[in-house]
Subunit: 304 residues, 2 copies
Amino acid sequence: MSLLVIGSIGLDTIETPFGRVEDVIGGTAIYCGVTASYFAGVRLVGVVGEDFPREEIAFLQSRNIDLAGLEIKPGKSFRWSGKYHLDLNSRDTLFTHLNVFETFQPVIPEQYRDTPFVFLGNIGPDLQLDVLNQVSHPKLVALDTMNYWIERTPEALHRVLARIDVLLVNDSEARQLAGEPNLVKAAKLIRQMGPKIIIIKKGEHGAVMVSDGQFFCAPAFPLENAFDPTGAGDTFAGGFMGYVAKAGKFDDETLRQAVVYGSAFASFAVEKFSLDRIRDLKEDEVRGRFAEFQSMTRFTRPWE
Amino acid sequence: MSLLVIGSIGLDTIETPFGRVEDVIGGTAIYCGVTASYFAGVRLVGVVGEDFPREEIAFLQSRNIDLAGLEIKPGKSFRWSGKYHLDLNSRDTLFTHLNVFETFQPVIPEQYRDTPFVFLGNIGPDLQLDVLNQVSHPKLVALDTMNYWIERTPEALHRVLARIDVLLVNDSEARQLAGEPNLVKAAKLIRQMGPKIIIIKKGEHGAVMVSDGQFFCAPAFPLENAFDPTGAGDTFAGGFMGYVAKAGKFDDETLRQAVVYGSAFASFAVEKFSLDRIRDLKEDEVRGRFAEFQSMTRFTRPWE
């Protein structure tokens, strides 16, 4: 089944301790959409300027991503620049130029309206709700948000939270949203706001999924050469939602596998700059890493 | 098989956001020894003052812990006091009174010298080496250390590291010891210093074991009511080494199960002050929590 992905699309300028790249393709919808395209048909919604590289448009088409919802507007594309510290766990934003993204009013093409799976990337909650209102009877809706919206537009955020199924946030965002330092209690409080499945992303410490009284903990892949963490969270979302859309269901076992696929793709993404590592992964590479997650976590009971 | 445990024994005064206790039993050898006593015969080495509560001595005896190596000296017992912050992830030390611990010169009783499994708790590396020299042909030796010794007595630390099999440290200590921010690289560098099994304790983020090219990642138990983290690391060590001593072997499967037992006992320990939660656990409580770790982490492959 297909997946609708909405979010930022832009050009990033990134400095890490290992190098620097300028104006490389990035943004939530790109990392998420490209990753999800390994599993399911992706319908992209976003906006770019006339300066967006044609070869990257061609690349998205080569991955069978539906671009009917991609608006190309006069002006420049969204641009972001960040510089990572030595341990890659923290970064400084050097600049954010919204450009054509500033006036983004997502319009969902008619042929997207029946999309069964929806990922609402981190944009203003009013826009997220507006998109959701344009989709008829989705089976599963996931949403990402951040401290900016938790602080500035809490009412709009709560309106959209009441309408979604899966919330993806990092641990500090979960604590902030719930106003509760204990993550277990925080997840319970957030479930009362609407989403029944909470996925807490903890970067190098992995991810925790909280659903009905159940926890599922996946580690991050222990990378010797983490290179550029940009887009890791969006890549996780793409692996997670792409796999769920492929499966067409979201029972506990499917959701666990989806978390592992999300973690596996995120671990690939950070091995190189931008999309470079996830442009053309082979099936045996993906299966190999999934299998490594299993061998890293499995153990037997001593009794029985 | 039996386990020799050496480390601090003392009386702790602890403040958490949930309460305060004064002069309660604590210290590495206590948390580790009591936990290990669920699995194996424990031989304790340590020192206390004449003020050490007789009922706690009786409690240790009731758990069949061999106290031939427990010295009771004129003077006061080691005392430590700490105050935890709201999220329990950080604490301030309010005071440390070494008292009889200051001149501790561990002497291993004759009947302890053939102990096959040894845990060298966090004391000066010269003392750790001195203890190790008094044990003949141990099968497996584990050691805990901390930033204090990494900074102040690196040469002595390296002498003892060259002689041990298992190093237990937290993530910041691993990075500091290796001089390397990437944990995977840090673990590899530490393995070159001697210990072939590195266990990195990450508190609420779980534990990672690195052995020959293998990783094993265990989450921390998601506790809604973490209460007092004091002794969690030593309790982990007790569950780990106690189980290994019971098994009498340390193949990959045994070590994985040992990490889970360590994590399970640590999760119990933090549910109440001091030893209160781990004084008298029932077998079905321990098995139940072990099983919960399995259900929190298991997933199947979508193919095959």
